[in-house]
């Protein structure tokens, strides 16, 4: 076969049989008006098909929501639980047809609870991933690092949880979901001090101790203000480094100062260390607890078990007749089921409902403003009171909850290390705020614990 022949053969195979050169219907015919009409209609139909394909592709373009979230490091447990809640919202909304008719895609990176990684993560989200919306991760330090970057881009930031991050910026498009209130620095410990003042006779002295980290430092500053406000004399006031191993000497020094109330602002390993040391040293005081991160986690609750009895710490949600918000039970049932395989916190009382509520708020704001424009969404969130799985939520000018709702909970009657007992009403009694109280404070601390 000649070279020319091969070429011809290839040309035939490349075309469909109907349009092969040999069978070309136009070959040797004159261009009539009918033929022109047919051709025009065919071209129009093809163009319409292309346009339809393009428009449906545009409709399927996902809304990208980006964020950094701790999946490792000291707050990795919280981050994992929060991420699961956000993923549950994504699955729900995509099953309902998406946001603004577009599917939602989450783009997230592990910030390792390390604020130094935040600038890189958020720059990538904006510049490379081209996200439409951003969320803030969990932790004061990481959100404090993210906020200036988001402000620079004039974007909206809904944070999972932080304390007093926006106090020095007053950025109008920042919101955070933890119910600390607009005066987070003081309101985080206010419930604790209010509970202390219900004791008879009223206490006169307090010891304040906490980790030397962003969160604990803010809380301690607030606790000092509250101590002054409630007329309590501070007889011990100290911070400890984040890598503190031994807490016996701290508890002993506190005992030597003989305070009636002991307020602790601690991170998860410290919370376990402080409670164990207080238990071992048989700390004699009337009230013991504080803003102790970690006691909300299923793993620590289970392992510390009876050592937690009489400790008064903050929680965001515990089962009680006063916290029966619409949808919360269904959310937690679904969460707890998924948490078993996701390796997230098995109870999900701490962050997940609030992370989910944050997404509900974002969804409602985007739907109401019919777009992704940060200014419009920000304005809408400020002007609206939202019904969420954690109840009604409205925001103050600084993006914190307009009304604080930190639950100060006293652990009671914890027996053994069964996790299911923490799902029962009555094991975690809400003593403050009064609006949600499910019982009164039990004191003194030492009497029932040891």
């Amino acid at each position: 076969m000649s070279k020319h022949g091969i070429r011809q053969n290839h040309g035939k195979r490349a075309l469909s049989p109907e349009l092969s050169f040999d069978d070309n219907p136009i070959k040797g015919t004159r261009l009539t008006r009918r033929l022109f009409g047919r051709g025009f209609m065919t071209i129009s139909a093809l163009a319409a098909c292309r346009a339809l394909r393009a428009s449906s592709a545009l409709a399927a373009e996902p809304i990208k929501i980006g964020f950094g979230m701790a999946q490792s490091g000291p707050l990795g447990g919280n981050g994992k639980a929060a991420l699961l809640a956000i993923e549950m919202w994504r699955d729900n909304i995509n099953a309902r047809g998406g946001l603004l008719g577009r599917p939602v895609q989450l783009i997230y990176y592990d910030d390792q609870t390390n604020p130094a990684l935040i600038p890189g993560i958020y720059s990538k989200l904006f510049d490379i991933d081209k996200v439409d919306l951003v969320l803030g991760g969990y932790g004061t330090a990481v959100q404090a690092a993210a906020l200036p970057i988001v402000m620079q881009r004039k974007q909206l930031l809904i944070g999972t949880g932080a304390v007093a991050v926006n106090d020095r910026y007053n950025y109008d498009k920042y919101f955070q979901m933890l119910p600390n209130g607009s005066t987070a620095r003081t309101s985080t410990s206010e419930g604790f001090f209010q509970a202390a003042m219900t004791m008879e006779p009223k206490p006169k002295t307090v010891a304040i101790v906490g980790a030397l980290t962003e969160f604990s430092h803010n809380v301690i500053l607030g606790a000092r203000e509250n101590a002054e406000k409630f007329g309590l004399k501070i007889v011990y006031d100290s911070g400890y480094p984040p890598n503190q191993v031994e807490f016996g000497s701290i508890i002993r020094s506190i005992q030597a100062a003989d305070p009636e109330v002991v307020f602790v602002a601690s991170y998860p390993p410290d919370s376990a260390g402080v409670i164990r040391a207080a238990y071992e040293q048989k700390l004699q005081t009337r009230m013991f607890g504080g803003a102790m991160i970690g006691l909300q986690y299923a793993e620590l609750k289970q392992q510390l078990g009876p050592m937690m009895n009489d400790v008064l710490s903050y929680e965001f949600y515990v089962p009680a007749p006063t916290t029966n918000f619409p949808g919360i039970k269904e959310f937690l049932a679904a969460y707890q089921e998924r948490a078993k395989t996701a390796g997230a916190d098995l109870l999900g009382f701490y962050l997940p409902p609030y992370a989910y509520a944050g997404m509900e708020i974002l969804e409602k704001a985007v739907t109401a403003t019919k777009g992704l424009e940060a200014d419009a969404i920000g304005r809408y969130i400020h002007e609206t009171t939202f019904d969420t799985v954690v109840g009604k939520v409205s925001f103050a000018a600084n993006g914190d909850w307009a009304k604080p709702r930190l639950l100060y909970v006293q652990y009671r009657g914890i027996v053994g290390n069964d996790l299911d007992q923490f799902k029962e009403v009555g094991k975690q009694v809400i003593v403050e705020p009064q609006e949600f109280a499910s019982g009164t404070l039990h004191y003194p601390f030492a009497a029932s614990s040891h």
């Binding site: 999946q71 000291p74 890598n243 191993v245 020094s253 040293q281 986690y297």
Partner: protein
């Protein structure tokens, strides 16, 4: 108000804490001090030991310290395998220890991520009969949670001291630490001896991991908190001296708890490291350094 009892308890707490610090540092003393291997991943091997103790405690209720003693031969074999790779890739090919540092830095992350995938990110604790109870005499409080690791640690370092000072293999390791070249001139297989020593260093990490999870909850990245502390103790002790490591660990422990008691815990790291700098200024080779 600071009383004599308070100070006495602070000293006792410091000694108990120092005992634990000695256990977590002894592997660094062997690897870094004796073999000149900058095993920056040592603390993450300790955390790995903690997670094994956690797993066995959770599944079968076995005491964490017993578990890690049983698991330590496996860690020894792991250490031998790591050394072989390290030696072939870095030492044997004449590449500097800086690349070795990068190797161990990478290993730290690999093990951390493996632990993350295997155990998740939650803090893990163990249950034993000695977590919670306290024994006391003559106004001294001894929490068993600190006493048990202390006793275990003293047994560990004493055993190693006897091994290095009174056995043929131990003396060979000390000789390698002193002058490897001279030993090789006598037809001794120094690589095999170094391999054995590195295996022992990793085995001690397993045991220290058992102590760690008794004292505090662990999560995969916890090891990073200990990197600075263990190297500081190793340097203060005299780089390769087991008695020096123990003395340095006690000093650091007691300084931490005394500072905590007298001026507050926020000053403890500053005072501890000031003590380290002061000691090195007076004695640059460390407390027991040659």
């Amino acid at each position: 108000m600071v009383t004599f009892n308070l100070l006495l308890n602070a000293v006792v707490s410091g000694i108990l804490l120092g005992g634990f610090y000695a256990a977590v540092t002894i592997g660094i003393t062997i690897a870094f001090g004796m073999l000149d291997i900058v095993n920056i991943a040592h603390p993450v091997f300790i955390v790995m030991g903690s997670f094994i103790a956690y797993l066995v405690n959770r599944m079968f209720g076995v005491d964490p310290i017993v578990t890690v003693i049983v698991a330590s031969p496996l860690f020894f074999l792991l250490g031998v395998a790591i050394f072989r790779f390290y030696h072939a890739a870095f030492e044997g090919s004449g590449r500097g220890s800086l690349r070795g540092l990068a190797f161990f830095f990478g290993m730290l992350f690999v093990i951390e991520v493996t632990l993350l995938l295997a155990f998740g990110v939650d803090y893990r604790l163990v249950r034993t009969t000695y977590i919670g109870p306290n024994v006391g005499f003559a106004h001294i409080d001894l929490p068993l949670r600190m006493v048990m690791p202390f006793v275990g640690s003293i047994a560990l370092v004493s055993g190693l001291h006897i091994f290095f000072g009174h056995t043929f293999v131990g003396r060979a390791i000390m000789a390698v630490a002193q002058d490897e070249f001279a030993l090789s001139l006598m037809a001794v297989d120094t690589v095999a001896i170094r391999q054995l020593a590195f295996g022992i260093a990793i085995a001690t990490a397993a045991i220290a991991g058992g102590f760690l999870i008794v004292i505090q909850p662990v999560e995969p990245s916890l090891g990073r908190e200990y990197i600075g502390r263990v190297f500081a103790i190793c340097v203060l002790g005299g780089m390769g001296s087991i008695p020096g490591t123990v003395i340095a660990a006690f000093i650091l422990g007691v300084v931490e708890t005394m500072t905590s008691t007298l001026w507050g815990p926020s000053w403890a790291p500053a005072v501890s490291f000031a003590a380290l700098l002061l000691t090195l200024a007076v004695r640059p080779s460390g407390i027991m350094g040659r």
